[in-house]
Symmetry: C2
Subunit: 126 residues, 2 copies
């Protein structure tokens, strides 16, 4: 499904979160689709199930997935997906980042071009 980078200094559960979000954003994991079980993904990545559980717990709190005991974890339908709180955090992070980009001498036009390209991609995963 994906690989972890052991040279990456970030915690493993953060990497797992990022990769799972990536798969959802790319539409590879679709709405209501079942994602690998805690034990299965742990086995695939050769890391401890508790670490996967930690990542899944975070993703559920942020609204990306939901868990059903005895069945598995599933992708939250897009419309209701990301929590309000998480959205605000993303906006705050954007403002901080854009200020740094401006200070670094990057032109606004350049940023808008980058954003255009991303938004030009069709929204998948419905």
């Amino acid at each position: 499904m994906f690989q972890l980078d052991l040279r990456d200094s970030r915690p493993l559960y953060e990497q797992v979160k990022e990769k799972m979000k990536m798969l959802m954003m790319r539409g590879i994991l679709k709405s209501e689709e079942k994602i690998p079980s805690v034990r299965e993904l742990a086995h695939q990545l050769t890391i401890n199930p508790n670490t996967i559980q930690r990542a899944y717990k975070d993703l559920e709190m942020e609204g990306y997935i939901y868990a059903v005991k005895g069945k598995g974890n599933f992708v939250t339908p897009i419309k209701e997906a990301v929590s309000e709180k998480k959205c605000e955090q993303l906006i705050t992070a954007l403002k901080q980042l854009v200020q740094e980009l401006m200070y670094a001498g990057i032109k606004e036009k350049q940023l808008v071009t980058i954003i255009d390209k991303i938004y030009a991609q069709p929204q998948k995963g419905e």
Copy 2:
């Protein structure tokens, strides 16, 4: 000069980096201006000088400041400030973030509005 947030889960040196960058971006610390010495800032914030040193070392590597032994640390003039490598990292972070914002249902127009506001502020600190 500024305060640290002990409830913040991030490392102290990361917070110091963020605050110092903020002061430079806001033009409160200007080009070629001397910033507080390692020992002085450590005393002000009631934290260890080594932690400040760590933050300053990072800021120097990223191009925001430069150090002169026996004299102090100074703000790098804007034009040469942020290193090429740091710029690329910022761009990469932006792409990642915008993808998440799109998935979260935020409209492109909304993002552009936010960016416009930031770039509308005059570039200070020259």
